[in-house]
């Protein structure tokens, strides 16, 4: 397992100003679980990963890997990267071009303190390659592999030492869309099978949502929200998280009424909306109501019943195969909706939009 406490790392940029890349980050990855650091470029997720790997030396904090303190600013401990029991997959794969597939995967075994025989090494490499479905390619030069194969090679190399912790730095970002879909699935299956504690870094929310046990959304060096995929998706705690995960509609307004536990009415430009309120919000607070496009239901005639019904006009409708991306104009507000692929409308047509109160969440307005 991985334990990070109070991690701080600053850099000095070209002009001499200090940049706080990681600003007091703490989290825990339980044994055998898949934990993702998710966020936009510059949020500090990769720096955090590299601190855990030992490739960066943090300013303050504590990092424990499998019970060993690999870094502690309090005690001055610092274990260099090559002494940590980790496996790492880099964004660029970092495959050594002058070595064959076999030699690439065998490298960790050859430099380890434990001297293994050539046969033993060959056997272990064969096993590792088998795990990533690359058997039989041992004697090829590493540069002769395709992108997907190189990525799997990097994975095999990271796993051959049977480390206790696996670190992955945006491993799928250099693959094309179809391959990425497949690898998401395969990586997750592999991790489950091996039950290896995994820390994954990405800016792609689909990867995060589909693969992780727990997601930590990061922004500007801090963790903004931590939780399971569904939790993060359905109950974002800030505008930033709501915007970053999936696409979302945002409607500004003010709370006019509170009715019971976290429920209330918000007065907005498109009318009064019943929705869930985030903890701590009171009447009179300025809020932003967020609702996902796939939650909105469009009716061609005014429906008899349904919460939060608003009339509007179709601004655009794009057929995307899996769904129809429909934008609806209500006054000055444009709402994005996803309708079933059978939905057919024309531009300018009148529709009724239903915003189910259970799917509407009022978050503090951060503007």
């Amino acid at each position: 397992m991985i334990e990070v406490k109070g991690l701080v790392k600053t850099f000095t940029d070209g002009t001499g100003a200090r940049v706080q890349a990681v600003n007091d980050v703490s989290f825990q990855v339980e044994e055998g679980r898949f934990y993702t650091l998710l966020g936009p470029s510059g949020c500090g997720k990769t720096t955090t990963l590299r601190c855990i790997a030992g490739l960066e030396k943090p300013d303050t904090g504590e990092i424990n890997v499998s019970g060993t303190a690999v870094f502690s600013s309090a005690s001055g401990a610092f274990v260099p990267p090559y002494k940590r029991a980790i496996g790492m997959v880099f964004q660029s794969y970092a495959i050594w071009p002058h070595l064959t597939v076999l030699e690439n995967v065998a490298f960790p075994l050859r430099v380890s303190k434990e001297k293994l025989s050539s046969d033993e090494i060959r056997k272990r490499v064969g096993e590792a390659l088998g795990q990533v479905e690359m058997s039989g390619l041992e004697d090829r030069m590493a540069t002769q592999l395709s992108g997907g194969q190189q990525q799997r090679l990097a994975l095999a190399r990271a796993l051959v030492r049977r480390p206790q912790v696996l670190l992955l730095d945006e491993p799928l970002s250099n693959l094309d869309a179809k391959l990425r879909e497949r690898m998401r699935f395969e990586l997750r299956e592999l991790q489950r099978r091996l039950r290896i504690t995994t820390l994954y870094v990405t800016h792609d929310q689909i990867e995060a949502l589909s693969m992780s046990n727990t997601i930590a959304v990061m922004s500007s060096g801090v963790i903004v929200q931590e939780g399971g995929p569904r939790d993060i998706y359905m109950h974002p705690k800030t505008q930033f998280v709501a915007q970053f995960i999936g696409s979302t509609n945002q409607i500004s307004g003010q709370i006019v009424n509170q009715a019971g536990e976290n429920l209330g009415t918000v007065s907005t430009e498109i009318g009064q909306l019943s929705c869930s309120l985030m903890n701590g919000l009171k009447t009179g607070a300025n809020v932003v109501v967020v609702v996902r496009p796939e939650s909105l239901i469009l009716h061609q005639q005014q429906p008899a019943h349904g919460g939060n019904l608003v009339e509007g006009k179709i601004a655009a409708a794009m057929f995307l195969g899996e769904y129809v991306d429909c934008s609806v104009e209500i006054g000055r507000v444009v709402l994005q909706t996803h309708q079933p692929h059978t939905f057919q409308v024309r531009r300018g047509q009148s529709v009724w939009v239903e915003l189910p109160p259970g799917d509407c969440l009022a978050l503090p307005d951060q503007n």
Binding site: T12, G14, G54, Y82, A94, H98, V111, R161
Partner: protein, 576 residues
């Protein structure tokens, strides 16, 4: 511990900085300062002295007066200016046209021309000048004799002992460099830039004018600039052709100051300082202009083939140009040297002369002790310089680009200082240094080694840093996260990946050291003579055909070194 932000691709986290590690860049800086800066300092100092090893330091401007306010100042300046501009322009013209024909058109057989164009690099500058003297000398030059006979002319059409003659001979030696640079420029042109011009309605000629040439401008500027600076610094042609023709440029003036009796070191140093400044400005402008041209290069991850111009029937004209160039400029000088080496004395081709062909010169050289000494010195110096330079620069490149040791950028700067120093200026500076501080290496092969090493460190640095920068830091980081210590990573990952750059730098330095002339001319004496100096002195003494034989042997030796090297390394491609 404070950290310095360097772009991610350049940083790496080992070795951890402990105080003793700070010694490494200090030692490196010390070596570089000793090699690169100290001689220049002595040069500057010496230019203000009256004597070369003064007992008291008397500052005087007399030397500068002698150098820059004499009756010859104007003619030297004009000669140097015309010589340098003419060579730059002509070298650029040939290099550019040849590069364009081979890279951007469908001229037949252009693929084999690329290695052919580079072959003249094997020909040392001194030999190039000698060969053209054989061809274009007004009294005996083969081309003159032949043309006079053919057309019944009264006076020889070409006189190599003139400024145009100097320009021609020197340009021809510069064409390989111009060619390689223009080829690189053409190769890196993104075809979609021209294609979008054509899609916007521009015809071939318009595209050429508005897009192609505009994109090439910065590179053309750089090429012209570097050719200009290199001509200004050169001494082979000014020595062999200029001096007999009484056409003096800056480098010849420095040589002459040194060759007077007693040698006027002061004036020589003053001239050297002036030339150094000119050269430094030129190199600075060149660096600025290459930075500009980088902006015009499209860097994508995808490789592309530049568009070919279809010349139609004109492609045979292109072929004719390539063929003529090859025959006239590459083959002819070599053939003339070969021919002359078999003659007892210089004579035009005729049946009479054919009967006199013999191996006499070669037999003479076989027993000629100074030849073997010079050959030995040249080979030893070439091998030692190349090895020392590459080892030193590999370590320095690693310190500059891969370690996080503070202040390592100074090493990068110091390593490139010698590129602004003309060979003859360095020779002058080293003389002043070692006569003032009599370490007993003056007059031996060791001072030549130091001189060559100093001169070629920038080239070694370029090869080594190019290689080091290509080693993505994640390749070393992956080794660390796979359990390899610093030494294991260096041994198993860094060094093998450095090998191509190391090898390329090594062979290049080996070849240029073997050919070196302008530094050696002041430093090589008696025992420490090298082949290029031997050629020069024997040619001046009139033993021209023996010189041709030495030349052929030099070329063969170089070819042998290059062949052995390629066999051993199995790599291809020397990029200058």
């Amino acid at each position: 511990m404070s950290t310095v932000a360097i772009p991610r691709s350049a940083r790496f986290s080992f070795p951890q900085v402990r105080d003793p590690a700070l010694l490494i860049p200090l030692v490196g800086a010390g070596v570089l300062i000793y090699l690169a800066v100290l001689p220049l300092f002595m040069l500057l100092l010496g230019s203000f002295q009256m004597e070369v090893a003064p007992r008291e330091f008397v500052t005087t401007f007399k030397n500068y007066q002698a150098a820059y306010a004499s009756e010859y100042t104007y003619s030297t300046f004009m000669n140097s200016l015309i010589f340098a501009s003419g060579s730059a322009a002509l070298g650029f013209f040939f290099g550019g046209v040849l590069a364009w024909l081979t890279e951007r058109t469908n001229t037949p057989l252009r693929a084999i021309f690329v290695p052919i164009a580079v072959v003249p690099l094997i020909l040392p500058g001194v030999l190039e000048s000698i060969a053209w003297i054989f061809l274009l000398s007004p009294k005996f030059g083969y081309l003159n004799v032949w043309l006079m006979a053919l057309f019944g002319l009264e006076s020889p059409p070409f006189n190599v002992f003139s400024l145009p003659g100097m320009i021609w001979v020197h340009s021809v030696g510069q064409v390989p460099l111009a060619f390689l640079m223009m080829v690189a420029a053409f190769k890196s042109m993104d075809p979609s830039l021209e294609e979008s011009a054509m899609m916007s309605g521009a015809g071939t000629l318009q595209t050429l004018k508005r897009v192609t040439l505009r994109l090439l401008m910065p590179t053309c500027g750089s090429v012209l600039l570097i050719l200009f600076v290199r001509t200004l610094e050169s001494f082979e042609t000014p020595a062999l052709i200029g001096i007999p023709a009484r056409i003096y440029v800056y480098t010849s003036e420095i040589y002459l100051a040194f060759n007077e009796y007693p040698p006027d070191y002061g004036r020589g140093a003053a001239l050297a300082v002036g030339l150094l400044l000119l050269s430094a400005v030129g190199v600075w402008m060149y660096t600025r202009s290459t930075r500009e041209s980088k902006k015009f290069q499209t860097v994508t991850g995808k490789a592309f083939r530049p568009r070919q111009f279809d010349l139609g029937r004109w492609r045979w004209v292109g072929f004719g140009f390539l063929g003529t160039y090859f025959l006239l400029v590459v083959l002819l000088p070599f053939l003339v040297l070969l021919w002359a080496s078999f003659l007892p004395f210089f004579a035009a081709p005729s049946w009479d002369a054919v009967q006199k062909l013999s191996l006499e010169n070669y037999r003479y050289l076989n027993g000629f002790r100074p030849f073997w000494d010079a050959m030995k010195n040249s080979i030893i110096l070439a091998l030692m310089t190349a090895t020392a330079a590459m080892l030193l620069t590999s370590i320095i490149a690693w310190i500059v680009y891969k370690s996080r040791l503070p202040g390592s950028w100074i090493l990068d700067f110091l390593a490139f200082v010698p590129i602004t120093v003309p060979g003859i200026v360095l020779g002058m500076a080293l003389i002043l240094l070692y006569v003032a501080f009599p370490v007993p290496i003056y007059g031996t092969i060791w001072v030549l080694l130091i001189a060559y090493l100093t001169r070629y460190i920038p080239y070694g640095m370029r090869a080594a840093s190019g290689s080091i920068l290509q080693i993505h830091s994640e390749l070393e980081e992956a080794a660390a996260t796979s359990g390899a210590s610093w030494w294991e990573t260096f041994r198993r990952v860094t060094l093998p990946l450095l090998r191509p750059g190391f090898a390329a730098g090594w062979i290049y330095i080996c070849i240029v050291s073997f050919r070196e002339f302008s530094t050696s001319v002041l430093l090589a004496t008696g025992d420490s003579r090298v082949l290029s100096i031997l050629l020069f002195t024997m040619f001046e003494q009139g033993q021209v055909t023996v010189v041709a034989a030495i030349g052929i042997l030099m070329i063969l030796t170089l070819l042998a070194i290059v062949t052995v090297f390629y066999k051993l390394s199995g790599h291809v491609g020397i990029q200058g």
